[in-house]
Subunit: 337 residues, 2 copies
């Protein structure tokens, strides 16, 4: 065993965590959190609407404060960390990226469904042109075989991605599945690999440790695990565990604990626990946008919504196919009778 | 790979979870929880003061309702599950055990510090004489080498224990450490082996899965993870995960989810999250009874309480040595200056 690799902790309290506060972060909160994380030694600090730049909308939820204002506030206080933004092609555009760059963003993570890496080429290209660090980010990677994840990750590398992030967006993976995916991608790429966990099956931390053992060197987390649904890996726990295991992260364990408890916790609207809805999403491997439609269909056809979710998971439905839920519910009700 | 072993889920919502509700369970709540768990197929349902039979006291916290009343209420509604009690020799006595047996308890788990199995011989013997199932239960097993855990587990087997439960009482273990301990004990014993996790490092579920892979067939959990400090493994998540992995548990996943959300959650006094205090206990491997004394000593010597906890963990302090905290704090303050 040689020396352990440096692990870059990427904080997403102000991006994925934005879902959990209904996108209501204000300038004062952003300054406090960014400043705390920066002083604690976090090198990558992500700030965007939960659904990425320009996510503020009727569909995805309106932000209380504009991204311009929040990015400017962040830039005012950040000293050593790199201000990072998320961009989902189709929601955010290259114009949004230029705006973020103007307001001080140094890194963009361009996220697509695991099979659609090709739509991020122009955004990664523009980021490089702007002098930014560009990250390719594959979502819902539990839905496809390892070979597909590798193929798509290689595409991202070919577009110029500085690292490729593998996400378990539904929190559906077991530690062994993370090991399989991450080690295959690490083997196939020349650029570093990262991992983004969700806690639906209460395995976010264990899965992150598996990713690290498999060679990932960028690991996402959030203070108190703040994030959509069951939330992300709890970054202050990761900082402590990695210190205990002898990894260097540059993050001060006590300082980041204090940010979590003194700055983030008072802002939280609900505790980040695993209740039944996110548990079922993780169990069935279905994306959270299906939840409301599923409840409606269950009511209409007098079904247990959980049976619909399991069936949607089996059929590997992806975002955008929400109208198929009615068909599935109809079939289930027919088979029952 | 042969057929997967049957996994017995042991619910401790009404015992370890009693800590998290300040021992204020009443008859109505106990009936609702026992009945729900029983109908969901849970075979072992533990009910006692958080510190075991007769724990109700000034030192450990007074129970709102007597154990006699709660056990009677439980016996009135339980149909298929086995009513289980915890007994810590030194707190509970053989008289308390007889009382529990009279009120319908079928199983007793006799718990001691990992190095003190010998004090449970008479209680295990009495349980067998009463016709009860007897479980030997070793706490704080992260503190000693694997060989010591094996030695103590063998003692418990020699006293007649029907199975031996290995506990990570401070939530300090990593999945690999669980694997090491459980597989060694499984190899050494003829009786089954169980595991009791705590979630201080957000690894309770992953550690429970490791225990199962290493051969454990009794796994503790609680609805919503309710338990002392960071709580236990979340039993409804375990039920779902084990179903997904192809293990039989006899527990209906949907029904136990419903008990957690509809019956237990409304009773909870606080969300079961990992805040800084339990995180530090898991990080340092120190038992929760040290926490208050540590804060007091930190104040007196103007130290960060976290530094004291880490030092206590290094020195492997055990319950009863709380007066040593002042000595440790004094030394730390001297070395600082």
């Amino acid at each position: 065993m040689g020396e352990k690799k440096f692990i870059n902790l990427v904080d997403t309290t102000l991006r994925d965590g934005s879902h959990a506060v209904s996108h209501e972060y204000d300038v004062k909160q952003v300054k406090a959190i960014i400043s705390g994380l920066d002083k604690a030694g976090v090198r990558y600090i992500e700030l965007s609407h939960g659904d990425g730049l320009a996510g503020s909308s009727y569909n995805y939820g309106w932000s209380k404060t504009s991204e311009e204002e929040l990015l400017k506030a962040a830039s005012d206080v950040i000293e050593n960390g790199k201000l990072t933004v998320l961009l989902l092609p189709g929601i955010g555009t290259v114009e949004d990226l230029k705006m973020a760059c103007n307001y001080g963003a140094k890194v963009v993570r361009v996220a697509t469904h695991v099979t659609e890496a090709d739509i991020s080429e122009q955004h990664i290209g523009m980021a490089k042109k702007l002098g930014m660090m560009a990250v390719g980010f594959l979502m819902m990677t539990h839905m496809v075989p390892v070979e597909k994840v590798v193929e798509q990750a290689k595409l991202l590398e070919s577009y110029g991605a500085d690292y490729v992030n593998i996400a378990d967006s539904a929190g559906a993976m077991l530690p062994e599945q993370v090991t399989d995916r991450i080690s295959a991608v690490v083997d196939a790429l020349n650029v570093p690999v990262g991992f983004h966990a969700h806690n639906n099956l209460t395995l976010a931390t264990a899965n992150s440790l598996s990713a690290i053992k498999a060679g990932a060197t960028f690991i996402d987390g959030a203070c108190r695990g703040l994030g959509a649904g069951a939330g992300n890996a709890q970054i202050e726990v990761l900082a402590g565990l990695l210190q205990k295991l002898g990894y260097k992260t540059g993050v001060d364990f006590y300082k980041i604990m204090d940010v979590a408890e003194d700055v983030v916790e008072p802002i939280m609207k609900r505790p980040q626990v695993v209740c039944n809805a996110p548990l079922m999403l993780g169990y069935s491997g279905v994306y959270s946008s299906f939840l409301l439609h599923t409840y409606n269909a269950a009511k209409r056809f007098n079904l247990d919504p959980r049976d619909i979710l399991v069936e949607l998971g089996k059929r590997k439905m992806v975002g955008g196919q929400e109208d198929m839920i009615i068909d599935v519910a109809y079939e289930l009700s027919k088979n029952r009778g």
